[in-house]
Amino acid sequence: MDINEVVYQTFFPAAGKIIILGGFFEGSILELSGGHILVQCLKDEGVEYVFGYPGGAVLHIYDAIFHQEDVKHILVRHEQGAAHAADAYARATGKPGVVLVTSGPGATNAVTGIATAYMDSIPLVILSGQVPSPVIGSDAFQEVDTVGITRPCVKHNFLVKDVNLLAETIKKAFYVATTGRPGPVLVDIPKDITDPNIKVPYHYPEKISMRSYNPVVSGHKGQIKKAVELLLSAKRPIIYSGGGVVLGEAHRELIELTRLLGFPITQTLMGLGAYPAPDPLFLGMLGMHGTYEANMAMHESDVILAVGARFDDRVTGKLTEFCPYAKIIHIDIDPASISKTVKVDIPIVGDVKPVLEQMLELIKAGNLKPDSEELKAWWDVIESWRQVDCLAYDRDSGLIKPQYVVEQLYQVTGGNAYVTSDVGQHQMYAAQFYHFNKPRRWINSGGLGTMGFGLPAAIGVKLAFPDADVACITGEASIQMCIQELSTALQYNTPVKIVNLNNRYMGMVRQWQEFSYQCRYSQSYMDTIPDFVKLAEAYGHVGIRVEQPEDVRGALEEAFSLKDRTVFLDFVTDRTENVYPMIEAGKAHHDMKLRVAPSAPLDRELS
């Protein structure tokens, strides 16, 4: 036996015939079954973790996983959790997340997670088992049309019809998922494709090109020049940046540009962290629950630089009254994001990073500067809006205020934690009160707003960064949607801290009912909320219930000092608290509902 052959036999006991054409690994052709090809592709792609759940259609693949340790499999408790965990791993690291599920219910359970990733443009590769090719279409056991079901919520999907095309298809999946505007890509693999008895030569292409897919990178020079000229002539400018800056790793360029110009900047929910929140140029988040100063500045601005943001309806409010005085520059890698809901004046299709770099070069090379007097006057107006102190809340309350818990979390973690969240009021408090100063630290479902995201997401992040503090800010309703993942957290020793802002209500729903349905709280509370302390303990974790404001800080400190334990902190918060400011559905930016805060003078004009 050739030495190369011995090596391969050792690495792949289940591999088939080996053809060695050249030196050690170079140029050699290895014959593998589909299952082993899949696992080998993941190794060659540098995949660290696969989040999955076994079943009939993927048994061959699981057998191939059994024979190796390079790609670690994380066994979740529900396929939705697999998709969320992989998604959060991707959000935190910038690398694609990988999911493996079986056919039928395995695939349908993953759909919510896939759609979540799709709406926020997160790179995921989902491998789903399918019934054997010959029986596709016969309503076979656990058959669903996975390609059909997922088509509207993936960037692309494939059905593998020939084991000889498997490796190339996997390469394409990673390529499509991670380039251009990222997104989930699903590969549906019929069981016969992974048959251990059918072995074919394995080759993982290093590069791939697809004639039908060529994402743009650099922006149009002429457009960039026009944009710079418009920016420098602005009197009341604002930078509106979004998730694209995080996805495109362009936070350094964004920070440099903002500071060079001295312009105010606001960020979307998805953009938070790209520009450091504690910085004075940052006005806070904009949109439905954005700050007064950010929304007013948008409304009154004359030039908006939109960077990797997609003019979502939660941001724009009433479209016909959106930013009536502004000329808009929009940088986005996806042409379809441009002028989709809001017409823009200077579209720039391109990757944020190179486009911002070119803008910086032009500004530095030219001798034009922003008009400092105009800018000063603009800042004066903005400061007056800031005085409104729109995020103020009652600090003397005898009840635990959810905002206070988030503030304390921020302090206890030094602002350095990875914070995942579920969906509801608690998510907005997290966005408003945890002042993210680095990108990829704020992990939440913005576009789909998926309750149940937070806990599996925290596990995915903790696996990626075992030494970092990871907190999941959640609500008593959301946490119950993927509570089973507490079991996964124990199995893989991912000590995350769950910060449950327990208001005994679906707070966000209750708030809308209070404002728009005359307090008819239809089905927005549950009479039977579990004892979360016991529940945490039953899953093998630590549970702490906190009922008094003065105990909040201590409980958080204790939780984070338990480095190797998952801790469920159940904060019993003021159940009447609302998220302010709020732009109600169909209203414009300057038409915000504000809290009449005790600290604010009552006679001021609110908008």
């Binding site: 390609v147 059909g148 088509r151 509207p152 960037k155 692309h156 059905l159 499509v176 697809m210 004639r211 039908s212 897919y213 996806d334 042409p335 379809a336 002028s339 989709k340 017409k343």
Partner: protein, 163 residues
Amino acid sequence: MRHIISILIENESGALSRVAGLFSARGYNIESLTVAPTEDPSLSRMTLVTRGNDEIIEQITKQLNKLIDVVKLIDLAESEHIERELMLVKIKTTLESREEVRSMVDIFRGKIIDVTPSSYVVEMTGHSSKLDAFIHGCAADSIIEVVRSGPTGISRGEKGLHL
């Protein structure tokens, strides 16, 4: 306005449903859709007729371009182009009406391709509006069935939609 979008798309199973799914999911209207492989069997050519204002058409072409399987597309309505549709019509005939139907078919440069004692099948190609006019010209109760391919089109001049 009416637009004819001509698309080169990978000839993969499911490609058609990606296009059709996009239209239904985003609420765009499709008046007609024709598709068949080209001289290169790995590519299909699709012709899609839709209506919408400029913003909607812009979104439609952007969203279509975003589909990974779409290689290229053009909006034929933006330039000089030729449009043709194929129609087969089965017409009920009587001894008295036969002559009149035949002359109608001649006027419209159609062909009678099947004859029974009581019916004709007429084949006709042309601009969709011409086909409409023919149908309009036939006695309403004489039409047994109509099959139309939906328009296909090509631009004038030497430029074309190819790889």
